[in-house]
C-alpha cells in the first residue's frame, strides 16, 4: 500500500451570513461540515458532487486559499507531516510550491498581458530561479512535457485555443515539481474533442512524474477516465468513498446511485429505468435534520429524518455514510445498459 500524502480529518468550513446595518452574524452556511478523507501518493482522487456540495471549498481549504473553521489537513512532505490548517502564512510559504492548482477556466486564469514563457516561468522566478537562461530552459522543458510547440513561447494567451490554454495552465502548475496538483474542473470548459486530449495528458503526466492529483469535478463520465478512487459529497458532507470500479459498478449510497443513473450515456434507449430524484439539493445554510439526503432519498425511513449517519469503513477501502447501506442493494452502471 502506498503512503498517504494528504489526510483531511473532520474538516469544517462555515461562512457567516451577515444581516442588517451592523452586519450581525445571522447564521452560518455550512459549506463543509465534517469531511474526512485521505489521498495516497501517486493516485488520483476525484472529489465529485453537484453545485453547492462543498467540493471546491474543500480544495481551497487544502491549498489554504481559505482558512478552515475546524479540522486537520495533514500533509506529508519529505518524511514530515504538518497540519496545514494550523500554519501561519509565513510557515505556509515554503510549502506552497509542493501544492499547485489547475483552474477550470483557461480563459480567465492566464494573464492576458504576459507571454506564455513568462506565465510558465513566473513560479520559477518567484521561487528563486533568477537566471534567465536557466529559466527559459526549464520553461521549454515544461512546454514539451505538455506538448506545446516551443515556437509559441513568446505568444500571448489570446492566440491559443481553450485546450492549448489549459496546457499552459498545467505547465505552470508543474513548474516547481509539486507533490500535489489540485485540478478544479480542468476540462469542463472545453469542447469534447479537446477534453479527451487534456484528460489523456493528465494520465500521461501522472505516470511520468508520479503526480498526486486531487481532481474536483461534477461529471462522473470524466471522472471514470482519470480517477483511482472517488469521493462523493452532498451538502457539505462526504457520503461515499471507494475505488472507481467498485463505486460505479456497486454504489453503496443512494445518492451515488442516483448520480450514476442521471449521467447521460451516449447510447440511445439507455434511459428506460432512470432514477429521477425529486425536489432540490438542500440548502447548506439550513440543512435538513438527520441525513441531508433524506428528503430526496427513495429509501429514507423515519430514522433517516432524525439520525445523522457518520461515515464508516464498511469494507476494506470502502466508506459510506448511510444508515441503511447494508439493507439496500443499489444499481450500478451495469444496470443501465
Amino acid at each position: 500500500m502506498s503512503e498517504t500524502l494528504l489526510e483531511v480529518r473532520d474538516l469544517k468550513k462555515y461562512f457567516p451570513i451577515r444581516k442588517g446595518l451592523l452586519r450581525r452574524v445571522a447564521g452560518q452556511v455550512r459549506a463543509v461540515d465534517g469531511v474526512s478523507f485521505m489521498v495516497r501518493k501517486g493516485e488520483t482522487l476525484a472529489l465529485v458532487g453537484e453545485s453547492g456540495c462543498g467540493k471546491t471549498t474543500v480544495s481551497r481549504c487544502i491549498l489554504r486559499a481559505l482558512s478552515t473553521t475546524e479540522g486537520e489537513i495533514n500533509f506529508t512532505i519529505g518524511g514530515k507531516t504538518v497540519d496545514l490548517a494550523k500554519m501561519t502564512r509565513a510557515q505556509l510559504r515554503p510549502l506552497r510550491r509542493h501544492m499547485q492548482m489547475v483552474f477550470q477556466d483557461p480563459y480567465s486564469s492566464l494573464n492576458p498581458r504576459m507571454v506564455v514563457g513568462d506565465i510558465i516561468g513566473e513560479p520559477l522566478l518567484i521561487n528563486g530561479m533568477s537566471n534567465r537562461a536557466e529559466r527559459r530552459r526549464r520553461v521549454l522543458e515544461l512546454m514539451e512535457l505538455v506538448q506545446l510547440p516551443a515556437a509559441y513561447i513568446n505568444r500571448f494567451p489570446h492566440a491559443f485555443s481553450g485546450g492549448q490554454r489549459q496546457r499552459i495552465g498545467i505547465a505552470r502548475a508543474l513548474a516547481l515539481n509539486p507533490e500535489l496538483i489540485v485540478a478544479d474542473e480542468p476540462v469542463s470548459a472545453l469542447d469534447v474533442s479537446v477534453q479527451a486530449q487534456i484528460l489523456n495528458l493528465l494520465l500521461d503526466l501522472q505516470d511520468r512524474l508520479r503526480l498526486t492529483i486531487l481532481f474536483v469535478a461534477h461529471d462522473l463520465s470524466v471522472v471514470k477516465h482519470v480517477a483511482d478512487r472517488v469521493a462523493v459529497m452532498y451538502v457539505g458532507r462526504m457520503v461515499e468513498v471507494a475505488e472507481t470500479e467498485a463505486l460505479y459498478s456497486r454504489p453503496l449510497h443512494p445518492y451515488t446511485e442516483a448520480l450514476l443513473s442521471a449521467a447521460p450515456a451516449p447510447v440511445p434507449d439507455a434511459i428506460s429505468n432512470r432514477i429521477i430524484l425529486e425536489r432540490e439539493i438542500a440548502d447548506p445554510a439550513n440543512p435538513p435534520p438527520g441525513c441531508a439526503f433524506h428528503p430526496r432519498c427513495r429509501y429514507a425511513t423515519e430514522r433517516c429524518k432524525q439520525e445523522r449517519p457518520e461515515m464508516a469503513e464498511v469494507e476494506p477501502g470502502r466508506y459510506v455514510a448511510c444508515l441503511r447501506w447494508d439493507e439496500l442493494s443499489l444499481r450500478g452502471i451495469a444496470a443501465m445498459t
Binding site: 474533442s193 471514470k224 477516465h225
Partner: protein, 337 residues
C-alpha cells in the same frame, strides 16, 4: 407521408466584421416533425445556436441571414410560409406564438424586475389577447404543468428567488404559454446539475408526448442527444456534416467527424483510467476556415486532394445525409459536371 412542421433549406447566416466575413451557418437543411425531437449537436463555433436564432429571426448584428428558406406550416393548415419573407410584424406573431424558445441561461433571460407571473403573462396577453386576470390564471396553470410546486404562490415571486432548476421550468412554462407547435431549446440543461438535468429532460419528454410538440434541441452533449433525440444533425463549422435517425448516427456513424466525436466522449461505462481516442488539433478559428472540406485538417480518413480543395456535397439516402467524399460525394460531383 408525414409533412414536417418546419423545414430549413440551405440556410446561410453570416457575420461581417472588419477582419472578414464569418459564415456561421453555411447551407444547413433539416426537417422537424410533430411529436419528434431533432437534436442539433456540435462543438463551439459550429453554428448550432446561430441556426436557432436565424429560425426565430433574432440574429444579432452584424449577423444577417443571407440565404435559404425556413418553411413553417402554420396552425390551421394552408401552404407553408417562408419565415424569412415575413414582415417584422408578422414574424412577431410567430415568435413565442408558434415557435417557443428556451435559452441556456435562465438567470440571464429573465427580467429581475418583474414577477415570473408577469413575465409568463406578457406573451399570453399579447398573443392570445387575455386580460391580466385570465393571464395570471393561465400562468398558474402553466407553472403547475411544468412541475413548479405551489404555483399560486410562486407566480408572484421574482426569478432570483428560484433555484436554477425551477427557473428552467419557468422558462419552459413561458415558452409553452401560447401552445406553440415547435419548441427550440438551446442548451436547456447545460447550466444545471446532472440530477436537475435529468428532471428537466424528463419534463420535456413528458410535455412532448402530451402536446405533440416538435422540438429542436441544441446541445454539445452527445449523452443528451442519445437520450432525447429521434433525429440528429451533427454540425461542424457551419455545416450539417451528417443528418439521420438517432440509432443510425450512434450505431453506424458515417462521417469521420461523427465517428471521431463519438469515440472521444468520456462515459461512465468506460474502464477506469482508460485513455480516450482523441481528435487531433482544435476547431479552426472561423476567420481561418479551411478550404475544401472544413474538417480535412483534422480528418484521419482523408481521401485525397479533393478533400483539400472542394467542399463535399450532401449525399447518401434521404434519411441519412452525409457531407463527405467517402460517401458517394465523388460520384455526385462527377455527375454534376
Amino acid at each position: 407521408m408525414v409533412e414536417p412542421i418546419l423545414s430549413v433549406r440551405g440556410l446561410h447566416t453570416s457575420f461581417s466584421a472588419q477582419e472578414g466575413t464569418v459564415r456561421a451557418v453555411d447551407g444547413v437543411s433539416f426537417d422537424v416533425f410533430e411529436g419528434r425531437t431533432l437534436g442539433v449537436v456540435g462543438e463551439s463555433g459550429c453554428g448550432k445556436s446561430v441556426t436557432a436564432r436565424s429560425i426565430l429571426g433574432i440574429v444579432e448584428r452584424p449577423g444577417r441571414v443571407t440565404g435559404g428558406e425556413i418553411l413553417l406550416r402554420r396552425a390551421g393548415g394552408g401552404a407553408p410560409v417562408d419565415l424569412l419573407k415575413l414582415s417584422p410584424d408578422d414574424m412577431r406573431k410567430v415568435r413565442g406564438r408558434e415557435i417557443g424558445l428556451v435559452f441556456q441561461e435562465p438567470m440571464a433571460s429573465f427580467s429581475q424586475y418583474y414577477t415570473i407571473g408577469n413575465q409568463i403573462g406578457e406573451g399570453i396577453r399579447l398573443h392570445l389577447g387575455l386580460n391580466a386576470k385570465a393571464a395570471r390564471e393561465r400562468a398558474i396553470e402553466l407553472l403547475d404543468m411544468v412541475g413548479v410546486p405551489q404555483p399560486s404562490r410562486r407566480v408572484d415571486e421574482y426569478p432570483f428567488q428560484l433555484s436554477g432548476g425551477l427557473r428552467q421550468r419557468v422558462m419552459i412554462a413561458m415558452a409553452l404559454s401560447c401552445d406553440p407547435r415547435v419548441l427550440i431549446a438551446d442548451e436547456p440543461t447545460t447550466a444545471l446539475d446532472v440530477t436537475t438535468q435529468a428532471q428537466i429532460l424528463d419534463l420535456l419528454r413528458d410535455l412532448q408526448q402530451k402536446h405533440g410538440l416538435a422540438i429542436i434541441l441544441i446541445t454539445h452533449d452527445m449523452g443528451v442527444i442519445a437520450e432525447m433525440a429521434h433525429d440528429v444533425a451533427v454540425m461542424y463549422l457551419g455545416r450539417a456534416v451528417e443528418t439521420g435517425p438517432v440509432r443510425d448516427i450512434f450505431g453506424e456513424p458515417r462521417h469521420p467527424y461523427t465517428r471521431a466525436l463519438l469515440r472521444s466522449i468520456p462515459t461512465v461505462l468506460a474502464k477506469p483510467r482508460s485513455r480516450l481516442p482523441t481528435i487531433e488539433g482544435s476547431i479552426p478559428h472561423p476567420f481561418n476556415r479551411p478550404v475544401g472540406c472544413a474538417y480535412h485538417p483534422r480528418c484521419v480518413e482523408i481521401v485525397d486532394d479533393q478533400c483539400r480543395t472542394e467542399e463535399p456535397p450532401e449525399a447518401g439516402p434521404s434519411t441519412h445525409r452525409i457531407r463527405c467524399f467517402l460517401h458517394g460525394g465523388r460520384a455526385a460531383t462527377g455527375a454534376a459536371q
